[in-house]
C-alpha cells in the first residue's frame, strides 16, 4: 500500500467517530400525546386510533382521554420543555440517532421533583409510553413517537 493511501485510510478512521456525531445532531421531529387514563367512564377520546389497540394491549384502564398533543423538533443537545396538563413538564433531549431509531433523554417533573427520568429509544413504528403520575382522576400517559 502506498504512503498516500495509508494516510487517507488513517484520516478516514480518525474522522469516523465524528460522522455518527453529525448524524446525531440532525434534527428529529417528535410527537408527544398526553393522555389521561382512568377507570371512571368508558370513553376513548383519542385522535390517533392506533393508540386505542396499543393502550388496550398494555393497560387495563376503562377510559382514555387525550389531553394535548405536541410536535417538537429536537436538535443537537438542546433541551425542549413541554408544559403538560396537570402541572407537569416534559424535558426532551436528543441523545443519538441511528437509522430508524432515536434515543431520547426524557424527564417528567413537577414542582422541581423528577417523577420519571429515563433514556429510551423510540422507533418510528412503535411508540414509547411514559406514565404513572396522577392527573385528574386517573394517571398521565405520554405517548412519544418519531415523525420520520
Amino acid at each position: 500500500m502506498k504512503l498516500g493511501s495509508k494516510i487517507l485510510l488513517g484520516l478516514f478512521f480518525c474522522f469516523l467517530p465524528f460522522v455518527s456525531t453529525l448524524r446525531a445532531e440532525a434534527p428529529v421531529a417528535i410527537k408527544v400525546t398526553a393522555i389521561s387514563a382512568s377507570n371512571s367512564g368508558s370513553d376513548f377520546d383519542l385522535e390517533n386510533d392506533a393508540f386505542r389497540d396499543q393502550l388496550i394491549q398494555l393497560f387495563s384502564y376503562k377510559s382514555y382521554k387525550q389531553l394535548k398533543q405536541f410536535s417538537v423538533r429536537l436538535e443537537g443537545t438542546k433541551s425542549e420543555t413541554l408544559t403538560i396538563p396537570g402541572g407537569y413538564e416534559l424535558n426532551l433531549v436528543l441523545k443519538a440517532r441511528e437509522d430508524n431509531k432515536v434515543r431520547l433523554h426524557a424527564v417528567i417533573q413537577k414542582e422541581g421533583k423528577k417523577f420519571l427520568d429515563t433514556e429510551v429509544s423510540v422507533f418510528g413504528a412503535g411508540p414509547v409510553f411514559l406514565g404513572g403520575p396522577p392527573v385528574d382522576s386517573g394517571n398521565l400517559i405520554l405517548a412519544i413517537e418519531t415523525l420520520g
Binding site: 398494555l58 387495563s60 421533583k113 429515563t118 429510551v120 429509544s121 422507533f123 412503535g126 406514565g131
Partner: protein, 137 residues
C-alpha cells in the same frame, strides 16, 4: 497292609492333592479357563436380580409422589397489570425474549419504576411507569 499304613497313605494323598489344588499355577489356569469360556462376571447392578426391584420401587415412588412442574406463562404475555400484581418492579429494564431493550436507564424521585416491553404486530411497545404511592393506581 495294616490299618496304620493305610492311614499314612491317605494322608499323603490328601496333602498332595491339597497342595496341587492350591498351587498358584493351577489357580491361574482355572481363572484363565473360566474367563475364556464364560467371560467376565457382570456387576450386580446390571443383573435383573438388582435392577428389577429398584426400577419397580422407583416407579411406585413416582406414582405415589408425582413431580409437579409449575406452569410458567411466557414473560411477553404478561400484561402491565399482571406484572404489577406480581411486584415485578425493577430499576433496570426487564429483558424479555425476542425483544430488544429500548430503555437505557430509568429513575424517579417519587416512587418505584417499572419497564415493560411487548412485541405487538411486529411493533415494539414500551412502557416506562412510575408508581406514585397508590394514588389512582
Amino acid at each position: 497292609m495294616n490299618e496304620r499304613q493305610d492311614e499314612e497313605i491317605k494322608n499323603a494323598f490328601r496333602q498332595y492333592l491339597t497342595a496341587e489344588i492350591k498351587h498358584p499355577e493351577v489357580e491361574k489356569a482355572k481363572e484363565k479357563f473360566i474367563q475364556e469360556r464364560f467371560g467376565h462376571e457382570s456387576l450386580i447392578i446390571f443383573r435383573p436380580v438388582f435392577y428389577v426391584p429398584v426400577l419397580s420401587a422407583l416407579f411406585v415412588f413416582l406414582v405415589l409422589f408425582p413431580v409437579h412442574k409449575p406452569a410458567l406463562k411466557p414473560a411477553a404475555e404478561y400484561s402491565l397489570k399482571e406484572a404489577v400484581k406480581q411486584a415485578v418492579v425493577k430499576e433496570i429494564p426487564v429483558k424479555l425474549p425476542g425483544i430488544e431493550i429500548n430503555v437505557e436507564r430509568v429513575s424517579s424521585e417519587i416512587g418505584p419504576t417499572l419497564v415493560y416491553q411487548k412485541n405487538w404486530h411486529n411493533q415494539p411497545l414500551t412502557v416506562v411507569w412510575v408508581f406514585t404511592g397508590g394514588m389512582n393506581q
